[in-house]
Amino acid sequence: MARYLRLYAAFLRFSFSRAFEFRFDFYFRVAMDVIFYAVSLGFFHVLYRHTSNLGGWTEAQAYIFVSGFLMVDAIHMTFFSNNQWWLPIFINRGDLDYHLTRPVSSLFMLSLREFAANSFLNLVLAAGLMAWAIGRYPEPLGAGRIALFATLLVAGAVLRYLVRMCFIIPVFWLHSNNGLNEINWSLDELSDRPHQIFYGATRLALLTVLPFGVIVSVPAHALFGAAPWTSALHVAAVVVGYFVVVVAWWQMGLRAYSSASS
């Protein structure tokens, strides 16, 4: 464990020094995320001009939900996004060889080696936005519930990474995942809406096998709903289930992998 922490500290150092070398990219990414945050808030602001309730949530609750998915997005962009962008390229180019020979888990190494320092600033902004949304909430939410919500959002970000891996791992067999990538990005939009607006089989799927509703909406439900621990157990069960599937599938992928580099 200590070795993995030391390794991660080294990843952080490299990532920060690289981010400051490419300053334009640093500023562009900050600006991009600020625009994304403004558009997301603006979208819900326009909707609530025409209704006082969406999926059972008031405008104040919806803003906390929005700040939740911005937080999950910022965590994903900071810790996982760059790594998941490069992963299919590494597999196709045969660059995986360098990581398979190292005495650490290849999945750990390839998922976390690049820390996006430029997105880290956006993580701070998203946290500020969440503090604002919680601060303007008209009723007291309670420190315990807020802490649970924050914890479940971190779990939601991990789940988002795991779901995304399910669309990347097939590259071991397909050699191109452009189509799957696009499908994943399209489906990911489902996590930006409250799961209560969906009904029947769609809602069931969003809370289980295609868990886009579990990433942010269920954690927000834990904050506002009557049974927060049921929601917490729900998130934990889906995260653990997906983790087991992804690790097993990754191992299968490695067995199917044949280097292209030598």
Partner: protein
């Protein structure tokens, strides 16, 4: 003068050849080609359906911002189809990739201007998009209830069709010209994908993909009309759905074309400046 103008023009035959090569290239990746569009269309429409069903049910209103529920769904079907025809490539990074990878050098040797050639490639994505749009429309007509289809078809008069096609043509050109200056920043910056993504966010919101512009507050709508994004999606959708008179359409076309001219000048200036500092190795 004529010689100077010729330097910026591409021969029609070459333009057509580049366009057809790009079309065939896109059609070659069939799974990506269909999966991307069909899933994106279905997911976006499904979200819009669930979202607006919830809003209409919660508010108890029959009409919101001039739309009843059926009109709202017709709006989203139309805007998603128009988006496919306007932004033919989902991620348009060809220009900056040519700068980063040095392939721009090759084009500098060709006896034809670079940006019009790239526009031919951009248009090459249009024919596959039209094929997809025809299939999507057929699917919607099969799935939607008969009275809804009848209402949609009643609005699609020959005049609306002509106005819609004209507005889509201007929007397609505008979509290309919007990315040219942004991609040109690649001459100075190490990565411009964030700028391209930022532009997509702005176009989605201020163009009316996420929510119709008619639902914006009046003050916001007054500002949005001055931005180019409204001419990408909102104008073509209103034209196709029969919400525009000829004079309003003509004014919109004038404003959209004005943006095209302004962006062409800005793009040309950026590329001219960038070209001076460009260094590439090999061809």
């Amino acid at each position: 003068m004529i010689r100077a103008m010729r330097q910026h023009l591409i021969r029609p035959r070459l333009f057509w050849q580049v366009l057809s090569v790009e079309t065939r290239k896109l059609m070659a990746y069939r799974f990506d080609f269909w999966a991307t569009t069909v899933v994106s269309f279905a997911v976006n429409l499904g979200i819009a359906y669930a979202l607006w069903r919830a809003i209409f049910d919660a508010s108890g209103q029959e009409e919101i911002g001039g739309f009843d529920f059926v009109a709202m769904m017709r709006y989203y079907v139309t805007v998603l189809i128009v988006r496919r025809l306007v932004r033919v490539h989902e991620r348009q990074r060809g220009l900056s990739a040519d700068i980063y990878e040095g392939t721009l050098t090759r084009y500098r040797l060709y006896p034809t201007p670079y940006l019009p050639m790239k526009y031919a490639e951009h248009l090459g994505g249009l024919l596959p998009a039209v094929v997809q749009v025809v299939v999507l429309i057929a699917a919607v007509l099969l799935v939607a209830p008969g009275d809804v289809v009848a209402r949609a078809l009643a609005a699609l008069t020959p005049g609306a069709l002509v106005m819609g096609l004209g507005a889509i043509a201007v929007a397609n050109l505008l979509s290309y010209l919007l990315i040219v200056p942004i991609q040109g920043i690649a001459f100075w910056a190490d990565n411009v994908w964030a700028l391209d993504t930022m532009m997509r966010f702005l176009a989605s919101f201020f163009g009316g993909i996420l929510v119709p512009l008619a639902l914006f507050p009046d003050a916001a709508r007054a500002v949005v009309q001055w931005l180019p994004f409204a001419y990408l999606y909102d104008l073509p959708v209103r034209a196709v759905t029969g919400q525009l008179g000829w004079s309003e359409w003509a004014l919109g076309m004038l404003a959209g074309s004005g943006w095209c001219v302004a962006l062409a000048l800005i793009g040309s200036w950026v590329w001219h400046r960038g070209d001076r500092i460009y260094t590439g190795v090999g061809i």
